[in-house]
């Protein structure tokens, strides 16, 4: 059953510098639907509007035309049913790791004790136990990104929106974190929408991969990923995995990926 429906969404940014008005067509006529409990991954070239699409789903930006329905209702703003991991961690620098993770819970009015417990759970889950009282400035970029993950998980949303959460990580940590995400997600199976540039990451995590064309972004291709869950690291050496990797690579390579397929 589809929980999120994107219907003919376009987005044009208008920037004014003095008298010069510049229009950027970020997205053009994107239609898509995501099923409940589905792990959906969007890949596409830089600047093709992935983050923009995610922000519209979160409710931070409105589409220029078309509409986005969440459980049948148009999105009017952010809600506790969605949790976001931003492309750049965007932690609150004056809050410790623990307080950052508790932030969303505080806003929802969750009591102090439960906040503590949940924060501890998710900090542990992203492997940052022992860093609870550190400030973001004392963490590496990758660690900050993991705090961002914990912050989004902590509100336990029905839908997770993840914008390149592992972009800042080294290859090795990235693999570990992908495995972790797959495991954590597997526990609650909330709907997830993840953006990445990394084809292998997409294949490892996704039930379905949406390949977007270059700007203005449109849906170029949709690829179903058949691998069973839970997925383990040895999946990466599976011949079918390698084959799909090539296929996706091909689709991505050309700006007009959709027509090639």
């Amino acid at each position: 059953m589809s929980v999120l429906t994107i219907e003919n969404v376009s987005k044009t940014f208008t920037t004014k510098r003095g008298r010069v008005v510049q229009e950027t067509h970020a997205l053009a006529d994107v239609s898509l639907s995501i099923d409940e409990g589905e792990f959906c991954v969007i890949i596409g070239a830089s600047g093709c509007g992935k983050s923009t699409l995610l922000r519209m789903i979160d409710g931070l930006t409105a589409p220029s035309s078309g509409q986005i329905l969440l459980k049948g209702r148009p999105i009017t703003g952010p809600g506790p049913d969605r949790g976001v991991v931003f492309q750049h961690a965007h932690l609150l620098p004056w809050r410790t790791v623990r307080k950052n993770v508790e932030f969303g819970l505080e806003c929802l009015g969750v009591g102090q004790r439960e906040r503590r417990e949940r924060a501890a759970t998710y900090i542990d889950m992203v492997g940052l136990s022992g860093f609870e009282d550190h400030y973001p400035a004392q963490l590496s970029g990758g660690m900050q990104q993991r705090v961002g993950l914990a912050r989004a998980f902590a509100v336990e949303p029905e839908m997770l929106l993840l914008d390149e959460p592992f972009g800042a990580l080294d290859a090795q940590t990235k693999l570990v974190m992908q495995g972790e995400l797959e495991r954590i997600w597997g526990v609650r199976r909330s709907t997830a929408l993840l953006i990445t540039h990394d084809i292998e990451e997409a294949l490892f995590l996704a039930d379905r991969i949406i390949v977007m064309s270059n700007r203005p972004g449109r849906v170029a291709q949709i690829v179903d990923v058949p691998f069973a869950r839970p997925r383990r690291d040895d999946l990466r050496s599976d011949p079918e995995f390698a084959k799909m990797k090539f296929q996706l690579w091909d689709a991505l390579k050309s700006g007009t990926a959709g027509r090639a397929a």
């Binding site: 931070l60 952010p78 506790p80 976001v84 931003f86 004056w94 809050r95 806003c107 929802l108 400035a137």
Partner: protein, 263 residues
């Protein structure tokens, strides 16, 4: 190689602070000695020797004059500063968050910010009164704009991304200001408050010199018109020390509360 340089550095390290202190103290002594020598030259009229200044300082405190003056100046300064801080941060926040205030009040603030308050003293005196109230109002005028402009700048400079974080995590409007905007603007606000301390001291002493003479200003004026150079210099040194101590204190408070940035 590495193993030979390392112990050397290690043995040098403990002497580091000591060497620094030795040099610091030596240079202070050298400075005082030079001052004394220069002040003792018969043609040095406006510079009294440091020993006489120290005596004047001692006498000033022993007679209670300096203590009273210092207390009076600090009272003026503190009352004025607190009022300025409340108004400055309050109105600064308002300008920062409200389009309306930005259009109506901000131009006035900028005009006030650019006006040298001391030029207005004779005119202001009529409206503010010449005694304590007038001096306090001058202190407020002296530092309120600094605090205000810094505060409103801080609010405007809050990274939009952090606001998005707040919204995205369902912060209410109140929470958004309390938990995101205000803390994000804090470095600016504290900077304004810190600069404000220095300006409040200058404002207090200037008001005491130019509005109606009182406290430290009166000490300085009295010493000046009677050519009591040692007391004059002692008063100046005292004013400088007051500034130094309070600014240090302000920096300390600022560093403490913004520790997260460099921690």
């Amino acid at each position: 190689m590495a193993s030979t340089t390392k112990p050397a550095a290690a043995t040098f390290d403990p002497t580091g602070p000591m060497l620094m202190w030795t040099l610091r103290i030596t240079s202070v002594i050298a400075l005082l000695a030079a001052w004394e020598w220069y002040g003792r030259k018969p043609e040095s009229f406006t510079i009294a020797p440091v020993s006489e200044v120290a005596t004047a300082m001692w006498d000033g405190f022993a007679s209670g004059d300096f203590g009273r003056a210092l207390a009076g100046t600090m009272l003026t300064m503190v009352v004025g500063y607190v009022i300025a801080a409340v108004i400055g941060v309050g109105v600064g926040l308002w300008i920062g968050v409200s389009r309306y205030a930005q259009n109506t009040i901000e131009p006035l603030v900028h005009a006030g910010y650019a006006t040298p308050v001391s030029l207005l003293i004779p005119i202001l005196g009529i409206y503010t009164g010449l005694e304590l109230r007038g001096r306090i109002i001058l202190v407020v005028l002296w530092c309120v704009f600094e605090i205000l402009v810094n505060t409103s700048t801080g609010i405007k400079e809050v990274p939009p991304a952090l606001i998005d974080v707040g919204k995205s995590f369902n912060a209410s409007k109140f929470d958004l200001y309390r938990k995101v905007v205000l803390p994000a603007a804090r470095p600016y606000i504290f900077l304004g408050l810190k600069i404000g301390v220095g300006r409040a001291i200058r404002g207090a002493v200037t008001a005491e010199l130019l509005l109606s003479a009182a406290n430290l200003g009166r000490v300085l004026l009295g010493a000046q018109s009677t050519f009591d150079i040692p007391t004059l210099l002692a008063g100046i040194v005292l004013t400088m020390l007051l500034g130094l101590v309070l600014m240090r204190l302000a920096s300390l408070v600022e560093r403490r509360s913004l520790a997260y940035r460099t921690a």
